[in-house]
Symmetry: D2
Subunit: 137 residues, 4 copies
C-alpha cells in the first residue's frame, strides 16, 4: 500500500518538487513527511507557506481515502492554522472518518518536527473526496 | 498599493518560486496571477495541484485583507474545488467581506485562463485572517 | 417554483416551527425570510442562535440547489459569523456557484432587518449538496 | 463546571427550547445531549434538521472552549453531514484543539443514540471561537 501510494505521488510533479514521502499507509490511514527548504517553501515571515500546509493536509487525506475508496478527487478542503509552520521536517497524519459511496470524509493533523525530534501541531484539516467510480443511487 | 503587495510577496520564497504576480490591488480587493508550469505544479492527473489552488486563494485573500487591515495572518481557509485546474495561467480575485477589529473575513475566486483568453472558474475559497495588531476589547 | 419550495419547506417540522418563508425562487437562486422570536430563538446574549443562522443558510442553499438539481441532501456547510444576529426579521439569499453531476456548490448571505427596514450582513455560508439521483461516472 | 455551563445554557432561549443538557464538562471538553422530538426538529425527510446538527456541534464547541478560555463567541463553524440524523437522543462531544490568546480551535462529533443505546456518528464539526477578552498583541 505504501509503495502504491508513493508511486502515485511520484506521478504528481508538484509532489516530486515538494519531496512528499509516504511513510505509512494502511486501511483508512496515511502518513506523509516533507523536509523543510527555506529557499522555496516560506511565506513572508519565513514559516511554511499556507499553500504547502494545505498541500500536505489535502494529499495525506487523499491518500488515506485511496486506501479504502480507490481513485478519488478532492472536492473541498479546509485548514485551521494553529501555530506557525516551523520545523526541519513536517509530518502529516490523515484518517478516514467515513467512506460513503458518494463522498469520503477525512481529517488530518500536520506537525512540525524540530531538532529535538518532537512533533508540534501546526495545522489541522478536513477534506471531502469524491470516488471517481461513485455509483448512482 | 500594488507595488507594496508585490514587494511583500517577493519576501516569501514560495511566492517567488510560484511566480505570483500582483496585478491589481485597491481598498479591500486584490488580484493575482500565476503562469502554469507542468513540470512542477501538477497533481497526479496533470491538473493544477490543490496546494497551489489553496496557495493562490489564501494569498489573494491575505493581500485583500492587507489593503484594509495592515499585517494579517491566516487562521482558517477553505477551498471548494469546482472544476479541474486547467489553464496556461491562473487568475485569482479576492475581496474583503468584513474587516473586524479581531478578524477579517475574505472570499476569492480562482480562474484558469486558456489559450482563448477566457476565464473559467476552477475553485472558490474563504479565509479568516487575524490582524497582527488587533486591539483588546 | 416558489410554491413548490414552500410546500417542500412545510414538510419539515423544524422549518414550520421556525416559520421559514420562501419569498423568491428562480433558476439557481432562492431567498427565505424568518421573523425573530426572542422567546425561543436566542443565544445567551439574546442574539439569533448560531443554530438558526446555520439553518437559514443551509436551507436557502438547499432550495437554490433544488431549483436546478432536483432533490438534494447537504453534505457539508460552513458559516462565517460576521456580526451579531440582530433584527426583527432575517433574510437569507442563496445562489448556486456550480451545479455538477455529483455535487452542487452554493453560497449564501444572511441579513438582519431592523425597524428601519435596512438589511445588515450577519453571516455568510457555503454548502455542498449531493443530488439524490447523481449519475455514476 | 457542568453546573456553570448548564446555567449558561439556560440563559439561551433556543437552548431551552431544544432542551440541551450538559452531561459532562472538564478542562477543554464538553458533552451535551438532546432528546429527539419529531414534531418540531425534523427536516423534510424526517431526520434531525441540519440547523439542530449545527446548533449542537457549535454549542458543545463553545462550552468546551469556555472551560479554558472564559467567555467566547463563535466566528466560524463547519459541519460534515456524515449520516442521516436518526436517534431517540443525540449526543455531542467537543474538545479544544488549541486555545490561543486570540482564537480557540475546537472539534466535535455528534452521535445519534438508538433504542439499543448504541451511538452512531451523524456529523462532525469544527468551530473557531474568539475570547471576549482577547488581549492585544
Amino acid at each position: 500500500m505504501r509503495d502504491t501510494l508513493q508511486a502515485l505521488s511520484s506521478t504528481a510533479t508538484f509532489n516530486r518538487w515538494a519531496g512528499f514521502e509516504v511513510v505509512r499507509a494502511e486501511a483508512g490511514e496515511a502518513e506523509l513527511q516533507m523536509d523543510w527548504r527555506a529557499e522555496d517553501m516560506g511565506q513572508y515571515a519565513g514559516f511554511l507557506h499556507a499553500g504547502l500546509i494545505g498541500a500536505l493536509l489535502d494529499t495525506a487525506c487523499g491518500f488515506a481515502a485511496a486506501t479504502v475508496a480507490g481513485q478519488v478527487t478532492a472536492s473541498h478542503f479546509s485548514v485551521n492554522c494553529i501555530a506557525p509552520g516551523v520545523g526541519r521536517r513536517f509530518v502529516v497524519r490523515a484518517r478516514v472518518v467515513k467512506a460513503g459511496r458518494r463522498q469520503v470524509f477525512t481529517t488530518a493533523e500536520l506537525f512540525g518536527q524540530g531538532e529535538d525530534g518532537e512533533l508540534r501541531l501546526v495545522a489541522t484539516g478536513n477534506t471531502i473526496l469524491v470516488p471517481l467510480e461513485a455509483p448512482a443511487r
